[in-house]
């Protein structure tokens, strides 16, 4: 057991290190912008003195390394700095009370995105794993071939194409779900679910396709193992072969597949949120990219990367934990 613990601690440390380096990459990338934040906040018409004042206020006159650690120190405490857009508005009104921090902006939207991802995962994971196992069991059958064509098609289609097709059928032609996901605080859960359904379905289509193909491949690989043949030759029923002999060994690859695809959701969520005007972090990210609201872009990027690294790490650790060779060392 100590052995496993050691490996897991190593992976955790590695994940943390990766995240740290990623934060450096993001920080450096953002600092490649011409001019600086002060100018960006105040715009072209600002006087030298006011730019200098803001620069001092925000600590922009400090060297880059100092600023990085300031930023990082803030991030660790949940402080992502002030958003340009709101800082702009505040500088017009002359007060500082109206300044919305990036954290305040991101917080609720992050929760919305998590909700969307959760709904998707609840639908997609059982569906994909079941279909994947079925396709593997009846491989090369009509079902398998049809599933292959269907999943390839849905993987190949851009998210917005699937989104509009679903809007067309499920919102416009048959008004079952709303095509706009205007979600706000204090909404009833059922209504919230209803409004998130279409984006969740689009994500489900894409993620299920990926997950199902990977599950199928993993199971087929497993069913070719000699110990599965052995179980069959011991006269075990097909059900028992699957449940007793295949599944315990399939767990690691399947968990891996699930985690990897949830990580994939992170990318998919951006486009889908834009199509459905879903008030999540993806939409905020795209809006900030367009308005060049750098602190928000920076923060969103870091959150996406963190989630991505975390999920990959989970996949890694899960597969270590389910490996009998590591769990029961010699």
């Amino acid at each position: 057991m100590d052995n496993v613990l050691k490996i897991i601690m190593q992976r955790l440390a590695l994940g943390l290190l990766t995240l740290l380096i990623v934060s450096v990459v993001i920080f450096v990338a953002v600092n490649m912008l011409p001019g600086d934040f002060a100018q960006a906040i105040l715009g072209q018409g600002a006087t030298e003195e006011s730019v200098a004042a803001i620069r001092r206020d925000l600590g922009l006159d400090q060297p880059m390394i100092t600023r990085y650690f300031d930023w990082l120190g803030g991030v660790v405490q949940g402080d992502f700095g002030a958003s340009f857009a709101s800082a702009n508005a505040a500088s017009f009104s002359g007060t500082t009370s109206g300044v919305k921090t990036v954290a305040q902006q991101i917080g609720p939207r992050f929760a919305n995105t998590m909700f969307l991802a959760a709904v998707t995962a609840v639908i997609a994971v059982p569906l994909a794993v079941t279909l994947g196992i079925l396709a593997a069991l009846y491989r090369n059958s009509v079902f398998d071939r049809a599933a292959n064509i269907f999943t390839l098609t849905s993987i190949s289609s851009p998210e917005f194409f699937l989104a509009y097709v679903l809007i067309l059928f499920l919102a416009v032609l048959n008004p079952i779900f709303p095509s706009l996901s205007n979600i706000y605080d204090g909404m009833a859960f059922s209504e919230r679910l209803n409004k998130s359904m279409l984006p969740a379905l689009v994500l489900t289509l894409v993620v299920t396709a990926h997950m199902m193909r990977m599950t199928r491949a993993a199971i087929i690989n497993l069913l070719a193992s000699p110990y599965i043949e052995m179980a069959r030759l011991k006269g075990m029923s097909p059900m028992r072969v699957i449940v007793k002999h295949a599944l315990p060994n399939a767990l690691a690859p399947i968990i891996n597949v699930v985690a990897l695809n949830l990580a994939y959701l992170i990318t998919g969520v951006v486009v889908v949120e834009v199509v459905f005007v879903y008030p999540g972090i993806g939409q905020l990210f795209v809006d900030s990219v367009k308005t060049r609201d750098i602190p928000v872009v920076q923060a969103c990027c870091l959150i996406f990367a963190a989630a991505y690294i975390l999920l990959n790490l989970t996949a890694d650790i899960m597969s270590i934990l389910s490996n009998p060779r590591l769990r029961h060392p010699k």
């Binding site: 193992s225 000699p226 110990y227 043949e229 052995m230 179980a231 069959r232 030759l233 011991k234 006269g235 075990m236 029923s237 028992r240 007793k244 002999h245 315990p248 060994n249 009998p324 060779r325 029961h328 010699k330």
Partner: protein, 548 residues
Amino acid sequence: MTEPLLKMRGVKIEGRSDEMWNPIINGVDLTLARGEVLGLIGESGAGKSTLGLAAMGYTRDGVRISDGTIEFDGIDLLTASAAVKRELLGKRIAYVAQSAAASFNPAHRLIDQHVEGPSQHGVMSRAESEADGMELYRKLRLPNPDEIGFRYPHQVSGGQLQRAMTAMAMSCRPDLIVFDEPTTALDVTTQIEVLSAIRDIVDQFGTAAIYITHDLAVVAQMADRIKVLLKGDEVETADTRTMLDAPTQEYTKSLWAVRSFERPAKPAIATGAVPVVSVQNVDAAYGTTPVLHDVSFDMHEGRTVAVVGESGSGKSTTARCITGLLPPTSGQILLDGEALPASYKKRSKDQLRQVQMIYQMADTALNPRMSIGQIIARPVQFYLGLTGAAKRKRVDQLLEQIELEPSEYYNRLPSELSGGQKQRVGIARALAAEPKFIICDEVTSALDQLVAEGILRLLAKLQDDLSLSYMFITHDLATVRAIADEVVVMKDGRVVEQGPKADMFTPPHHAYTDLLLSSVPEMDPDWLTNLLKERGVDNVGDAAVDKM
């Protein structure tokens, strides 16, 4: 006469490849009486495993039984429903696979897999079967029989796993067990204990068995009757002793004859002769793990040194040191009396040319995207600077030397050649450099016996013609007998014993050499019985090695 246990009539089996059904077995009959052990032998691709599985009414994916009848104790296995077949499998017909390590489920303990059959088939309760399992482990002479079942497969060694699998096959006391090459993946010293354990337990319970192998000597120990297969056809079937003494078919006779190939002994090495290659006090390590300890031996012109030992003994590592792929941590390699730079990167073109290598797996040793001509031409051009017509002429000459028709083979790709032909190309590539010294790393172990024999004869002829010096790495003592002049025995990275072949095969010698030599199965059907009598049942295999 009583009704046979298993009756197969005119069985035809086909396999699917390239969108077509190709025959694997073309109409074979097989009859097995209760308690009888039938040996099924043949080369790779003869269809013996497929036939063995068909005897259980089972086919792998992409394989089908297209014709014939298979009857087990009056039950027609081909028309029986899946449920009826499931009831037979495991309970009355059991299977022991070639690789026990892969055939045990890594997620469950051995004993849990052992009791699955009896409890699911309703033969015994879980607890009864567990106790019975331990009893079987004891009968199969597994160490710690009460405890070993609670381990996971990866915690148990290969030879022990193979016995545990035999115990599992026995768990329901079946009428028939199909053994599919159960000892092929094991070292010779381990093989003995598995063979004797299997033989005893099959005897004890009067179980009928089909024993599949490509090793004649092994089948001679195990079987009452032998059936020889060749490319899906039966060659002949006879009683073991009859078959060994008086085979009737040409093919069977040729199989037997392979064992008798032996080169005449060469005169002793002249004193003061400078060895072509001399390994001197070499130590080597992979990272910080030492693998070789003070290895020294010499190889002389026109002679063959066989380096023998079991897997992990350091034979191939020594070869890597000689070629310079693994620079030794201390000691040196001399070529014609001059020290070679430790790493191949620092050696001159001529030094590289003098030391050539032939690999075990011809498949990975030849670039699949180059034609045979290109493969052989490269060293010709690289070392000797021949181009154009001169190069072509030399390549043709080399192809003739390895007995392949130049016009036919020059433009072929390796994938269009058989295993033996590929190995010949590997030899030609080594010859093309016009070396003094060639390392042959298990060159015949991936080949069938007849083909291997051809390769050995070719190598012997080339040595006589070109006065080549060979270092012959092998674990097969029959090969040593056939081709070696000197023998070096290795164990755990050390040279245990070395000397001329004649000395090595006559006692007395080092205890390990003795163990190794005596563990190689012989064609005599009484060999195993006599050996066990001589050594005592508890003194074979791992137990014997551990006592050293």
